[in-house]
Subunit: 239 residues, 2 copies
DNA sequence: CTGACATTCAATTGAGTTATTGAGTAATGG
DNA sequence: CCATTACTCAATAACTCAATTGAATGTCAG
């Protein structure tokens, strides 16, 4: 065993041990991403912080199960927690985590098309509504020729939305149709490309004779492209 | 159970099943990333395609073990294969996979600093050599005031390198020092921020009295920033 | 067709992961 | 202080994954 004494460069064994540790750190992150449940929780959290109870409800999980998965995400440092009275609020630890989730989604995109027709059918947005892209929407928002609706729960809207959007929560779409402007085109968006709130809203509105298109992105994709995001001042849960 | 008959929108059960399938597709990718060994293989492959035998050797794995992990990566569609005579050559399936690997690395970066001092010690580049950044290097390459050396095996150099770099494989650094220009500053780079070939080379060259700095990026990071990458025409393995 | 080589497959064993259940803990309101 | 709510922890059983071994497959050189 030739052990070099040079302080700055360790032995070959030290090296490969260190290299292994580095890859093991990376693998911690990978492991945390290796569960559909945890990815769903991450996706929800990417739309805004939430309590364990809210996450369990939205992902249809047992409280204990949600808690365990969230602990796992926290152990991988993908999320952080904060106590707020009786609740523990989880949030994404760093913008790089949202970017990571998007990278996974991008890598999965091709295979979804290829080998899961059920999922594809569920997502057929293009077939029903001509999608609008970010740059066209940005231009038309400036021109004032569209009305942009954010079809998500108010809590998510408050934590960040496309500047200029108005919040029409999923349950309120029908009611909102009555007072919707009939002259302008309506653009609906929700959480992102795999979220169907905006499509549902578009179907509902079109059935009432309105002109609607859908933006396939969410507020994170919009923000990641450097476009303006607004957030409503929160008054902390229900304090 | 109210089952809607509308063809375009399925029942609530269909929905949540479809949503689950989507997250399960994402999780396939996550699972593939959940092993230090597979991440090391991906990292090697991001530097260029290789046979199973070459990968097993470079990652110090049994042939069968390397093959199984590579099959797992292939099942997640992160890598593809091609037969070349008796060998099977694996390669990254899509640029989005390299981006995914980089996203994992970025998310892991903070924790490495925080909770693995062994790995940190191994990587202490800044302490020894003033790092150069991409834009400074690009400028000085244009000016011709630096000599850029690519400290990787020739096969990797051939498959893609920073335009203007000359290849000095890890074992040849000492020999190359003799004919290295003494007037210009030397910049060394290798696979990327977690690769130590360039640091080793820099130490060796500095011990011989040369002026050396290190670029912490590899060819993928350089290329991802839209900077020019060159590749040498391959003549296909050993055909 | 045979032997050599690179790779994959199959079967085994041990280790790690998941969902579930029930108990334990921290903050709040009375 | 007690009850309640929100959450976490511990223990279990079912399941999945990893490393290893040896056999099987595909290709090439003769």
């Amino acid at each position: 065993m030739s052990v070099r004494k040079t302080p700055s460069s360790g032995s070959a064994a030290d090296r490969s041990a260190a290299k292994r540790r580095i890859y093991e750190q990376f693998a911690r992150i990978g492991k945390a991403l290796g569960s559909a449940t945890r990815l769903e929780l991450l996706d929800l959290l990417s739309q805004g912080e939430r309590s364990v109870e809210a996450l369990a409800r939205e992902a249809s999980l047992e409280m204990a199960s949600a808690s365990q998965h969230l602990r796992a995400l926290a152990a991988a440092r993908l999320v952080e927690t904060r106590r707020e009275g009786q609740r523990i609020v989880y949030r994404i630890a760093d913008p790089s985590v949202v970017a990571l989730f998007h990278a996974v989604r991008a890598a999965a995109k091709a295979q979804l098309a290829e080998l899961d027709s059920v999922a594809q059918a569920y997502l057929q947005r293009e077939d029903d509504f001509e999608p609008i892209d970010q740059s066209e929407l940005a231009r038309r928002l400036r021109d004032g020729t569209v009305v942009l609706i954010d079809v998500r729960p108010p809590e998510e809207f408050a934590q960040g939305h496309i500047r200029g959007a108005i919040n029409v929560p999923p349950g309120d779409v029908s009611a909102w149709a009555a007072k919707a402007p009939r002259k302008k085109e309506i653009v609906a968006y929700c959480r992102g490309p795999y979220c169907v709130y905006s499509m549902d809203a578009a179907r509902t509105l079109r059935a009432k004779g309105l002109r609607v298109r859908a933006l396939p992105d969410g507020v994170n994709e919009w923000g990641a492209a450097g476009r303006p995001v607004a957030r409503t001042a929160t008054h902390g849960g229900r304090s």
